[in-house]
C-alpha cells in the first residue's frame, strides 16, 4: 500500500464516507471517547500548556540541528553493531530492505504498525522479494486479513469496521467459528499471530523516537506486538522518518509522555520499549542483526520552508480526534494513509499537490486541531498556507473559498464549508456577529475574515451541506 489509497476521486470518496452509517457512528463515538480521555489525561497535569511548549521547543531544536543529530545517532548505532542506511527516496529504502531479506533468504516477515513503512509501500516491495508479510498490530491484522482494506485512522486503523464485520472476515478467511465478542476475536488473533511470530525470519518496526546520544530508539504500543517483533526473529529492520529523533533519553521521555496522553489518554501505554543495537553476546532473545533505515522521501524539501513545523509531528492523532470534517467523512475520504488535519497538511507535501490538492480544503479552519496538538503545530495556518500556494500555482482568483467549492465539486460561490467549523463555536462567535454577517472573527476564524465577510454561523451540518452540494451548494 502506498501513501495514496484507492483510485476514487475525492468527491466519490467523501460521498462514500458520508453514506457509511456505521463508519460515521463509529467515528463520532470514537472521537468523543478519545477526546474525553485526552482531555482528562492532559488536564490532570495542571500545566499542559507548559508541556506543549516544552514539546515544541524540543522538536524545534532537533529540526534546526537535524544533520548533527542524525550523524550522532548513526555513529552510536554503528558503535553498538547496528547497520545504518540513509535512504533519500522510498525506492532506495525498499531496495535496501529487499536486499537484506534476500541475503537472509527470508520467507516470513512480521511487522509492528508503522506509518512510514506504509508511506514507502514496503509491504509490496517485500512481497516482490518473495516474502510473506504479516501485520501484527490487531487493527492492522484485521485489515490485512480483509484483503488489505486501507486504514482509516493513524492510531486505530480499523476504526471503520464493527465487530460483526470483523467476525465475518475472520470466519471467511481464518475459519473462525466463535462470536463477535472482542475478547474472542482478539484471542483468535493472538493464537494465529503467535505461530507467525515464532516462525518469522525478519521483524520490521517503525520508530517512535530515536535517541541520538545513545543510538537507541523507542517503540510505544499497548499490545506488546512490537516487543515480540523485536525479540523473536533473528533479523530486525527498523524504518524511521528522518525527523523522528531526540537528543537524549530525557527528551524522549517528554515526547513519549506527550504522545501517550494525546493519542490514547494514558499516562503511559502498556509497553514502551527502548532498544539499542542488536542483542549482546550471550543474550538469547532479541535480533542477531539490526538495521536502521532512515528515510527522507520528501521530508528535506519541507525542511527550511514555511511548512517546516509539520515535521514536529509525533503522530498522536489528537488533531484527527477533534476534527469535525474527519468526523463526518471518515478516514478513507482523504485518500491518503495520513488522514485528518495532519493528513491534509502532510499528504500534499509528501505526495504532491496534483494528488492531494483537495485536502487543504477538506477543513473548516476552525482551529480545533491546532489547539490540541501536543507539539504546537499551527495546523490550520498551514492549511491556509496550502490554499495560498495552490491558488498561486494555479493562478486562480485569490479567494480561498472559490477554490474550496471547486475542489468539493460545487462550483458555487456559497461559502458553506466554513459553517462546519463554526457550528462548534457559535458562543465564541456571537460578540463578533453584526446582524448576520461577521466582519472580524477571533483566532482561527480571522483567516477567513481576512479575505471576506461571511454569514453568521447557523446549525447546518456538514453532511446536509454536502448532500446539497450538487444542487449548487445553496445554503440550506
Amino acid at each position: 500500500m502506498s501513501m495514496k489509497i484507492g483510485e476514487d476521486k475525492f468527491k466519490e470518496r467523501v460521498g462514500k464516507g458520508i453514506d457509511n452509517t456505521f463508519m460515521r457512528g463509529a467515528v463520532a463515538g470514537a472521537q468523543e471517547r478519545m477526546g474525553t480521555r485526552r482531555e482528562n489525561a492532559t488536564e490532570e497535569l495542571g500545566n499542559w500548556e507548559e508541556w506543549r511548549s516544552h514539546g515544541e521547543e524540543i522538536r524545534k531544536h532537533v529540526l534546526e540541528n537535524l544533520d548533527f543529530y542524525l550523524e550522532q545517532l548513526s555513529e552510536n548505532v554503528a558503535a553498538r553493531g547496528g547497520h545504518v542506511f540513509f535512504a533519500q527516496t522510498a525506492a532506495e529504502a525498499n531496495e535496501y530492505i529487499q536486499g537484506v531479506a534476500k541475503s537472509k533468504n527470508a520467507k516470513k516477515v512480521v511487522k509492528a504498525k508503522s506509518m512510514v513503512t506504509e508511506e514507502i509501500s514496503l509491504n509490496s516491495a517485500l512481497q516482490q522479494a518473495g516474502c510473506e508479510v504479516i501485520e501484527t498490530d490487531l487493527g492492522e491484522y484485521i485489515l490485512q486479513v480483509d484483503d488489505h482494506d486501507p486504514p482509516s485512522h493513524i492510531v486505530v486503523p480499523a476504526l471503520h469496521k464493527n465487530k460483526e464485520q470483523i467476525r465475518d472476515v475472520f470466519a471467511e478467511k481464518l475459519g473462525y467459528q466463535k462470536t463477535s465478542k472482542p475478547e474472542e476475536l482478539a484471542l483468535h488473533a493472538r493464537q494465529k499471530l503467535r505461530e507467525e511470530f515464532m516462525s518469522a525470519d525478519i521483524g520490521i518496526t517503525g520508530c517512535n523516537f530515536a535517541v541520538a546520544e545513545t543510538g537507541s530508539f523507542s517503540l510505544v504500543t499497548n499490545e506488546g506486538n512490537a516487543d515480540l517483533v523485536t525479540s523473536l526473529p533473528k533479523t530486525q529492520i527498523t524504518v524511521m522518518g528522518m525527523e523522528r529523533l531526540v537528543p537524549t533519553f530525557e527528551e524522549m521521555e517528554v515526547l513519549v509522555s506527550l504522545l501517550t496522553r494525546s493519542s490514547v489518554g494514558q499516562k503511559l501505554t502498556s509497553y514502551i520499549t527502548v532498544l539499542t543495537g542488536p542483542r549482546e553476546e550471550l543474550e538469547t532473545d532479541g535480533p542477531e542483526e539490526f538495521h536502521l533505515v532512515i528515510v527522507d522521501n520528501g521530508r528535506s524539501s519541507i525542511l527550511g520552508g514555511e511548512f517546516q513545523s509539520v515535521l514536529n509531528c509525533i503522530r498522536c492523532a489528537a488533531c484527527i480526534n477533534v476534527c469535525p470534517v474527519y468526523r463526518q467523512v471518515g478516514g478513507h475520504s482523504y485518500g491518503s494513509i495520513y488522514s485528518g488535519p495532519i493528513g491534509a497538511v502532510l499528504s500534499p507535501l509528501l505526495g504532491g499537490y496534483d494528488e492531494f490538492k483537495e485536502l487543504p480544503y477538506a477543513t473548516t479552519l476552525c482551529g480545533a486541531c491546532t489547539e490540541v496538538c501536543p507539539v504546537k503545530i499551527p495546523l490550520h495556518e498551514l492549511l491556509h498556507k496550502h490554499r495560498q500556494v495552490i491558488v498561486e500555482k494555479e493562478g486562480r482568483a485569490p479567494f480561498a473559498e472559490k477554490m474550496a467549492m471547486k475542489a468539493f465539486g460545487m462550483g458555487a460561490s456559497s461559502p458553506a464549508l466554513y459553517k462546519l467549523g463554526t457550528k462548534f463555536v457559535p458562543s465564541v462567535m456571537s460578540p463578533f456577529t453584526d446582524g448576520d454577517k461577521i466582519s472580524k472573527g477571533p483566532g482561527p476564524l480571522k483567516l477567513w475574515t481576512d479575505s471576506r465577510d461571511f454569514p453568521a454561523p447557523n446549525k447546518e451540518r456538514f453532511r446536509d451541506w454536502f448532500k446539497n452540494r450538487d444542487k449548487g451548494g445553496k445554503e440550506s
Binding site: 548513526s74 533519500q88 486503523p157 516487543d227 523485536t230 521521555e253 514502551i272 538469547t284 528535506s300
Partner: protein, 239 residues
C-alpha cells in the same frame, strides 16, 4: 559486532542545504530548556506517598498490587502463582531471588506441588524462548518503578531474557519499594547518568505498564492481546 553506515554524506548535506547553512557535525549541545514541567509531577513526595500513588494507578491499569515485606514475600508470591493457576513458571536468573529468601519456595516448595520452574539459562540458547512460550507465569524484578503511570522498568541482559515478561500467559513483577520514583523523568535521568558513567545501556529496556491490551475493535478494551493477560506487582517494603 561491527556496524556500518551507508549513504550518509549526501543525505545529511541535503538536509543542511534545505536548512540554508553548512553541515553541522559538531558544536551542538542540548540547550537549557525554557520549560521543565516534568519536574513538578509528584515533586517532594515521600516513598510512602509514592506507594499510594502506585496503588491507585494500578487499579486503572488492570494490575493487582500486593504490598508485603521480605518475611511474607514467599507466601505472597506462592499465593499469586497459585491464583494464576500454577506452573509452568519461568524466571530470570537473578541472585536477588535467593537473597530475598525465595529459594525454599522456588527451588523446593513448587517442586513439591508439581509447579515446574524454569530459570533463564544463556547456555541453552533458543530453548529459553520455547520455555517462555509455554509458561503460564513469568517473573522478573523491577529496576525502577514509576508511581505516576504504574510502570515497572526492566533491563535485559544475558540472564534476563526479554521474553520472560511477554510470552507467558500471566506476569508477576517484584518491586523493591526503594525503586519507586515519581515518573518516567527520573528513569530517563538514571539511564542517561549510567550512559555518562560509561556503562552501556542495556540492549533492551522495557517500560511495562500492566498487562497487554488493545482497543482496536470498536474501541472496546481487550486485555491480553499479544503479551500477558494478567499482571501483579509485589511491592517489597523493606527493600
Amino acid at each position: 559486532m561491527t556496524g556500518s553506515i551507508q549513504n550518509r554524506d549526501a543525505f545529511l548535506t541535503q538536509i543542511a542545504k534545505s536548512l540554508g547553512r553548512e553541515r553541522r557535525s559538531k558544536g551542538v549541545a542540548v540547550p537549557a530548556w525554557k520549560h521543565r514541567p516534568q519536574d513538578e509531577v509528584l515533586k517532594g513526595a515521600t516513598q510512602d506517598e509514592l506507594v499510594e500513588v502506585l496503588k491507585t494507578q494500578c487499579m486503572k491499569i488492570h494490575t493487582s498490587l500486593v504490598v508485603t515485606n521480605l518475611q511474607d514475600l514467599p507466601a505472597k508470591l506462592g499465593e499469586t502463582v497459585s491464583n494464576y493457576g500454577g506452573g509452568p513458571v519461568i524466571s530470570w536468573k537473578d541472585e536477588r531471588f535467593s537473597q530475598w529468601g525465595l529459594d525454599p519456595l522456588m527451588k523446593k516448595g513448587w517442586k513439591e506441588k508439581d509447579i515446574e520452574l524454569y530459570e533463564w539459562d544463556e547456555s541453552k540458547g533458543s530453548e529459553n524462548i520455547r520455555q517462555a512460550e509455554k509458561s503460564n507465569v513469568g517473573i522478573t524484578i523491577s529496576e525502577i518503578t514509576l508511581a505516576e503511570s504504574g510502570t515497572v522498568v526492566l533491563y535485559t541482559d544475558k540472564d534476563k531474557g526479554r521474553t520472560v515478561s511477554f510470552l507467558p500467559a500471566t506476569y508477576i513483577c517484584l518491586v523493591p519499594k526503594s525503586s519507586i520514583v515519581p515518573r518516567m523523568t527520573q528513569a530517563a535521568q538514571k539511564m542517561r547518568e549510567m550512559h555518562h558513567q560509561g556503562k552501556q545501556v542495556s540492549s533492551c529496556v522495557n517500560f511495562i505498564t500492566g498487562p497487554s491490551n488493545s482497543a482496536d475493535i470498536e474501541l472496546n478494551l481487550v486485555v491480553g492481546v499479544h503479551g500477558p493477560i494478567k499482571a501483579t506487582y509485589i511491592v517489597i517494603e523493606d527493600l
